[in-house]
Amino acid sequence: MTKVSMTVNGKAVSGEVEGRTLLATFLREDLHLTGTHIGCDTSQCGACVVHVDGQAVKACTMFAAEAEGAEVTTIEGIAAADGTMSPVQKAFQEHHGLQCGFCTPGMVMSAHALLAENPDPSEAEIREYLQGNICRCTGYHNIVKAIAAAAAEMRPVAAE
């Protein structure tokens, strides 16, 4: 067993893990942050996307021990402390960007990573960025619309 310490959603956490413990498993089973979903377990579907030191990664394809000392943000860390949803979360709701909701945590985490990198993405850029996030029910159109709407809302208004 290895001791790991990291910051998750702004809180210092630590735990004892096996070498093979995946970051997704540590988040879900040790920290009880079950918003990070494990869909395929083969790095394809993206339901487990979290941010590690600000970058989107698949938490099912990284060991917990590799996140030693890292700043991790999960879907639970996206809304404000009082529960106010982020612009991306609100836009998913408004634009019907989810049906069953299983892929949604990963979609929202990827969307936030995209908008941090590129605040004004084209539709094609949004679709390209979601290459590693699979949704089996909405058919992507509304997810793309939601992200475009959130981008517009999050962009600072140009000074007149």
């Binding site: 990664v57 590799e66 990573a113 995209l114």
Partner: protein
């Protein structure tokens, strides 16, 4: 996945020592190795993560050479090589998906030498040098057939040095489920000639299409390869494409790469 001891050295010396243990295996970004461990296709006793070694994580220009550290991620190369070597950045930005690119490393990709991986084609075409903890290996000496390289047991890729070509472009015909190349071709025009690296096509792994190199070195234009044919012998055949189809793609993608470079 079977359990293993996890080591996360912070210096190259510590990593070399950790890898000298019996049944030790180096871990780069893990985007291939972790799925492989899950399937129990590999079962090391010790897994030595290299991503904690800060000195191996860099992309920088040094004269006419682009130097990429062994644990530089595909995302880093896509961003940081864009101005210096756009042909390489354009290859890196199409590997896998964004989350995979934030973990996957150049050293991991080269050491694994997947026959459909993108990096081997770029390293061959650019005539790069693979630097390890003990030596320098020329691209032409590095790849040794599917999933096999010149690396010795426990040897670590510390850096890859790319001579920056005059022009270069990578064309990938993507297998959309895996995001690997069904066929990928990198063309690089150097002052002393053209090199063409082909991945995804051959059962022997990445290779140079030397006939096209000769033709393009004389006339750097897509039509220079019109008269050439690629034999389907030894090409990969699977449910995604026949050997004949892959052979055909090699020529098509070479022409596109020349046109786009």
């Amino acid at each position: 996945m079977y359990d293993f001891q996890f080591a996360r050295p912070t210096s190259l010396d510590e990593a070399v020592k950790a890898l000298s243990a019996e049944d030790a295996q180096a871990l780069g970004g893990g985007q291939t190795l972790i799925p492989t461990l899950k399937q129990r296709l590999a079962a090391p006793e010790v897994l030595v993560s290299l991503t904690g070694i800060r000195e191996l994580r860099f992309v920088r220009r040094d004269g006419d050479t682009l130097r990429v550290g062994g644990t530089a991620t595909h995302g880093m190369v896509a961003r940081e090589a864009a101005a210096e070597f756009p042909g390489l950045a354009g290859m890196a930005v199409r590997i896998g998906d964004p989350a995979v690119r934030n973990r996957g490393t150049i050293g991991g990709s080269l050491a694994n030498n997947d026959p459909s991986a993108c990096y081997p084609a770029a390293v061959l075409a650019a005539n790069a040098t693979v630097v390890t903890n003990s030596r320098e290996i020329a691209a032409d000496e590095f790849f040794d057939g599917m999933f096999t390289t010149a690396l010795d047991e426990g040897e670590i890729i510390t850096e890859v040095r790319f001579p920056i070509p005059e022009r270069a472009n990578y064309q990938k015909f993507e297998q959309p489920a895996s995001h690997f190349a069904l066929v990928g071709v990198m063309v690089a025009k150097h002052a002393d000639g053209v090199r063409v690296g082909v991945t995804g096509a051959s059962e022997d792994g990445v290779f140079r299409w030397t006939e096209a190199e000769d033709a393009l070195s004389g006339n750097y234009a897509p039509e220079a390869v019109d008269g050439l044919t690629v034999s389907a012998d030894g090409m990969i055949g699977d449910l995604h494409g026949t050997p004949e189809y892959r052979a055909h793609l090699v020529k098509v993608l070479t022409k596109r790469a020349v046109a786009a470079s």
